[in-house]
Subunit: 324 residues, 2 copies
């Protein structure tokens, strides 16, 4: 999920005046427990800095699966999410079945962003025509997708993605949205929350988004959770800026839960091919992310700054969600 997308949400959201009702909702969500904070309810002192290190895009490519599994197995990546329509899904589903404790959610997918390597929906194209571009694939960008998608078809498709995941033995611990497509407007956000609530699953939501999506707190139920902030390195960061970006981000963490989104892959022929028509989010950039978050330097950075890794499963268990 792209930070730029998150920040740009406002462009697609119907800006509403913050009402008394949504203010109340914000207060209710932000201070869910009257006496204890979420961090305390998770068993930590209130000033603890909790971090979900989350790998996106599993199932999309073999290179991503290999790097992300290695990331999870270092213990430095705490969570990840899976793209159900992609052809490498069976590999990651097999991993999920053999590692039932791995914290795996669904990276709900309504876009297919690479020029030479693409996928369609889980549902038949006749059932969800508004999700498809003229070549019969999911749209290349989240903005094109949001401009064309009928929310009813998006809802049918994401319900089908969840059903398919469960049929393959994946018990998702949370949901998020590939390229933020489901965060592009209020109707899609509502769709996402309705499906998440019906399935008793947490959604990746950040309190940072409330300013540009003022309706958001009103969609959240008492058992939903918003993280304080989301950290995601930009494609524009050059190789020598990597340590500084993550170093600064970790040193500046605040008490509460933060999510750090990483995109792990190897700079191999497959990944070069996947990302060849795409200047950003490329294979070299993904390998640098992999190298950093699996490094002893990252382990030391977390330790020196007294950061504790946490999973969506732990949070979901507390909130009595499914998949635990």
């Amino acid at each position: 999920m792209k930070l730029k997308t998150l920040i740009a949400i406002s462009a697609y959201i119907v800006i509403a005046t913050t009402t008394a009702t949504s203010q109340t909702q914000v207060s209710r969500v932000l201070s869910h427990a009257p006496t204890k904070t979420l961090v305390e309810r998770l068993g930590y002192p209130a000033d603890t800095k909790l971090l979900i290190v989350h790998a996106d895009d599993l199932g999309m490519a073999h290179s991503i699966n290999r790097a992300s599994i290695k990331g999870l197995e270092t213990g430095l990546v705490s969570s990840a999410s899976i793209m159900i329509p992609c052809s490498w899904l069976p590999e990651i589903a097999a991993y999920a079945r053999s590692h039932p404790d791995a914290d795996l959610g669904l990276h709900l997918t309504l876009t297919s962003e690479w020029g030479l390597y693409r996928w369609g929906p889980v549902l038949g194209k006749e059932q969800v025509p508004s999700l498809l571009d003229r070549d019969g694939y999911l749209y290349l960008t989240e903005t094109e997708a949001a401009a064309h998608i009928d929310p009813k078809e998006a809802e049918a498709e994401i319900r089908a993605q969840i059903a398919r995941a469960r049929a393959l033995g994946i018990q998702p611990t949370h949901l998020d949205s590939h390229m933020g497509t489901l965060y592009q407007n209020q109707a899609l956000f509502e769709t996402l929350f309705r499906v998440a609530h019906d399935n008793k699953l947490l959604i990746r939501v950040s309190k940072e988004w409330f300013a540009t999506a003022p309706f958001l707190p009103s969609l959240m139920g008492p058992d939903d959770v918003a993280v304080n902030t989301i950290i995601s390195i930009e494609p524009s960061v050059t190789a020598d800026g990597w340590s500084k970006f993550y170093g600064d981000a970790i040193k500046n963490l605040q008490p509460g839960i933060t999510e750090m989104i990483v995109h792990l892959a190897y700079d191999d022929e497959e990944m070069k091919g996947v990302t060849s028509a795409h200047p950003n989010w490329g294979s070299e950039w993904r390998q640098r992310d992999f190298q950093f978050v699996t490094s002893e330097a990252f382990r030391k950075l977390l330790k020196d700054n007294n950061v504790k890794l946490v999973t969506w499963r732990e949070v979901g268990k507390l909130m009595k969600k499914a998949g635990q």
Copy 2:
């Protein structure tokens, strides 16, 4: 396409007594032109040994696309065919659009044989339920597929594959069947011929098959062509047996048209991953095929044995087929 599959066709074919009618058909097909042989009509002396060197499985993986394109560009691979349901199709469709003279057909796909990397049909799953296994993908093997497929649904799916290819700018010169699924029984053969005739396309057919599929000549029209024989190296051939296998095969070629099916890929991480759950047709085996058919040794072998490479396009043009 597997030679083993071709040889094993008889197991799935309703063996019929060769009738006078089919004998007549055989004669008509085998000696189509009363005065000139097919080889002569293509502009060669009657005793010329013509060879179509054909790469299968394009579109299935980036590794296969890279190796097969390199094979085509050496001039030692004369023809290839594309799998439409696979995610790397856009890469090979882009190549087809920018190389309109490349001899590219469709490797009609009704199976998805790798354990960890899979695909479904082009049509919606609701339209072709008999094509799907319990995980919602095309069947793993050609025998399972043939046992479950409703030929009407197979027909709808292969028509959709042809339409999709054309919509993406591929002008196919011929058709064949991935893993020989459409060669598994008479009903599927009939489906294939009906679709090929409606689309004015040649089909890969070998005269060798007539013994075990006696109905086959009766399905062929006056503008269809059967090659003399098909050469395809078995997965059981070890690395040191490669040159001998192809050396013997080329030295033993007979006048007329022979097709040599090759499976080109690199032994890279992607292809190791694709073929990991599959002992045969693996990435090392495919790289050996690539190395041999793009070698100067192969070029010399063809020259020394006076073998001329030919394409499906040349044959199709003669037979007034489409895509020329």
